[in-house]
């Protein structure tokens, strides 16, 4: 994921985002709307919990046997007339894709919204070779035209409101009507006219896939607008970049996921467009199909017992919409195409914990557990977050504080002594019963909140005084 490197640590980026009142308003409105609708859509299914368990079991089984299923997928895609490429990392995937596009002398490509191509920074790689990528998902188009970055997995332009979108269209979209208003129907019509031209001209399309089915060699894309369907069927060549974890063993497994995904992501019973294709068919759809299977850190995740559950993710973004942190900061602060709670565990796993942003992401959570509760594949995100926190190289000063505090808090004598010391200090630090200002890193607390003054007598001291040390 090269695109976002050089990002500041999460707390610094988040601090700026929190101060942006327009952004906060846009996010609150959008996340609350989707959150409420999702709860309704999920409540309609009595067997939601069983579906969730089934999805988790299918994914875990697949991941445990990934080697077998990947080979089976390759065989079946090839049999159906497709070509399979294996990419170890982002660089290799970009080289394969740009090579394929260049060999077809295409100067532009249309793209179906794809998290995986965001992950590998494919658009930058294409542009570097003089190929123009055109995002055809409406929100992705808004982001692209605005020279912006997506801030949500499902609704990449969640941070923009209608008025802002109108401005972007008027400024950046060739042929946008001069009298364009911020009426959603008008905005959609402008995008439609703009994109229609691109669909007709493009000879190569690039997509991701929501699922890849091993026993038939089929690929599945679910979407809402139909622009994906245009990309998948009109151009002569279709290139799909798919993470190796997107595999499902068999066709019938799809039933479970097609029940879970739309309800979790857009709060719909069924998404408007589900495109499924198997290799190439004569006189229908693309004449050439290339499947690029991407590792890019996934095998390393798979080897990690706690971390591997993140590979179950189906990119529904339900966790973003319920996250108290995401709701206040938006996606950009996460410095990755994968924002929110799932991003906070995926990005550091795929990229490593080396950069300031990746080392800070596991701490970008209150551990409230709302993400785990809504996850359709039951990824225990809080568990994975605290696990990653334990792998981070802590600052020396913090480490010292924690080691010493563990000695004090971990021993009854140390604890009693600390409580006595605190009680003795209460007349100095909190005359009003409240502390209004604390030093050092704790200042962050008292900037907006009072801290309680220590009690005159701890429970431990009270117990031993009144119960005479009776055990």
């Amino acid at each position: 994921m090269p695109t976002y490197l050089g990002m500041p640590a999460f707390p610094d980026a988040a601090k700026r985002a929190v101060a942006d009142t327009q952004l906060r308003a846009n996010l609150t409105h959008a996340t609350h709307t989707i959150r409420t609708k999702r709860a309704g859509a999920v409540a309609e299914l009595e067997d939601w919990e069983q579906l969730r368990e089934a999805a988790k079991a299918i994914k875990d089984h697949t991941l445990a046997n990934l080697d077998t299923y990947l080979i089976q997928l390759e065989d079946n895609v090839t049999k159906a007339g497709g070509h399979v490429h294996w990419a170890r990392d982002a660089q290799e995937a970009n080289r394969i894709v740009t090579g394929l596009v260049q060999a077809r002398h295409a100067s532009k490509v249309v793209k179906v919204k794809s998290m995986t191509t965001q992950e590998i920074g494919l658009n930058d790689a294409l542009e570097a070779r003089g190929i123009e990528p055109i995002e055809t998902d409406l929100a992705e188009l808004i982001v692209q035209l605005g020279h912006d970055l997506p801030s949500h997995i499902l609704v990449p332009a969640i941070h923009k409101n209608r008025a802002e979108i109108r401005e972007i269209f008027r400024r950046e979209m060739p042929g946008a009507p001069k009298d364009l208003t911020d009426d959603p129907a008008q905005l959609a019509a402008a995008a439609r006219a703009h994109l229609r031209q691109a669909f007709l001209e493009a000879t190569v399309a690039i997509s991701g896939a929501n699922f890849a089915i091993a026993d038939t060699g089929s690929l599945v894309v679910v979407e809402s607008e139909g622009n994906g369907r245009m990309c998948l069927t009109l151009p002569d060549t279709l290139i799909s970049v798919v993470g190796i974890e997107k595999i499902l063993p068999s066709w019938r497994d799809l039933e479970v996921f097609l029940a879970l995904l739309p309800r979790s992501s857009t709060a719909e019973r069924m998404n408007p467009y589900t495109s499924i294709w198997t290799g190439v068919s004569p006189a229908d759809g693309p004449r050439e199909f290339h499947l690029v299977l991407l590792d890019n850190g996934r095998t390393a995740s798979l080897a990690d017992r706690t971390g591997r559950q993140a590979l179950r993710c189906i990119r529904c973004s339900a966790c973003l919409n319920v996250c108290p942190v995401y709701e206040r900061t938006g996606g950009h602060a996460y410095g990755s195409p994968y924002p929110g709670p799932i991003g906070a565990i995926i990005s550091p796993q795929l990229r490593g914990l080396g950069s300031p942003v990746d080392a800070s992401l596991p701490f970008a959570s209150t551990l409230c557990g709302a993400c785990y509760e809504v996850c359709p594949v039951a990824i225990n995100i809080p568990e994975a977050l605290v696990y990653l926190r334990a792998k981070i190289k802590h600052k020396r000063s913090e480490r010292a504080v924690f080691h010493v505090s563990a000695k004090v808090l971990g021993s009854p004598r140390g604890l009693a002594a600390a409580q006595r010391a605190a009680s003795a200090s209460r007349h100095i630090v909190g005359r009003s019963g409240r502390i209004r200002s604390l030093p050092g890193p704790l200042r962050g607390w008292t900037d907006t909140r009072d801290a309680p003054a220590p009690p005159a007598e701890s429970f431990r001291a009270w117990w031993s005084r009144t119960r005479g040390g009776k055990q």
């Binding site: 209150t366 924690f402 080691h403 563990a406 962050g444 907006t448 309680p452």
Partner: protein, 239 residues
């Protein structure tokens, strides 16, 4: 830090006829260390816990967060450390570890503890109680059993308050922004007291309420359950 809560737990349980003991050898459960990534520091605390609490019928803590640490993460700690004795001790002891409201309602089946608290109260379900421990409506049932108490529904009650342990300091601005919405919801209820099952969350919420001079006080559920007509009368005369 919050001795009144501990005293209240003792009061309530003794009022119901139970024998309460406080093993003097006990210390912190280690959650802060575990959650911040210092598992090696949390491990001795887990060992201390099982050593000190072995042999009791029921172990109660007035913190959903501490109870869920023991139930959810002690097994992980033991397993990672390869400490089979600890793992065995944890699996034996963890089912007997209860948060107060869960103990009263689900185990002891005593949702009416004979309390009296003539005030307007709203309840904030803490995340670890709600989503890790799944104490469900136990606190509501207890509060409904309190005579004189008016329970007002908190808007967006299940939203996190933004505390998150070290999160409140490491991401202070985001934490404060989350808290601001919680505090606004609390003030909207015009309650005199906001109640929860975790003093850590209450310290956070209370810190903001106090900074805003909102006049709304925080109170641990145990302290409400401990109050009686007599205690209320004393309080009134003291004022």
């Amino acid at each position: 830090m919050f001795p009144d809560t501990g005293k209240a737990v003792v009061t309530v349980l003794e009022r119901l006829g139970h024998q309460v003991e406080f093993p003097a050898g006990q210390a912190c459960c280690g959650q802060m260390h575990f959650n911040t990534g210092y598992r090696e520091d949390a491990l001795p605390m887990a060992r201390g816990f099982v050593r000190n609490f072995a042999g009791y019928e029921a172990i109660v803590t007035p913190s959903a967060s501490c109870a869920s640490m023991i139930r959810e993460y002690y097994p992980t700690l033991a397993e990672e450390a390869g400490d089979q004795a600890l793992a065995a001790a944890v699996s034996e002891i963890a089912p007997r570890v209860h948060e107060l409201s869960g103990l009263l309602v689900d185990v002891l089946r005593q949702p009416d503890v004979g309390a009296y608290f003539p005030h307007r109260v709203t309840y904030h379900p803490t995340c670890h109680g709600l989503r890790m421990l799944k104490i469900g409506d136990a606190p509501y049932r207890l509060l409904r059993g309190v005579r004189g108490l008016t329970l007002v529904e908190l808007p967006e009650a299940e939203a996190c308050c933004g505390f998150g342990g070290t999160f409140a300091v490491k991401n202070a601005e985001v934490s404060a922004a989350i808290c601001a919405d919680k505090v606004a919801a609390i003030r909207q209820t015009r309650a005199e007291f906001v109640v929860a099952t975790d003093n850590s969350c209450l310290m956070h919420i209370g810190g903001a309420l106090s900074r805003q001079r909102s006049g709304v006080a925080t109170k641990h559920l145990a302290e409400i359950l401990a109050s009686t007509e007599l205690a209320s009368a004393e309080l009134a005369s003291a004022e």
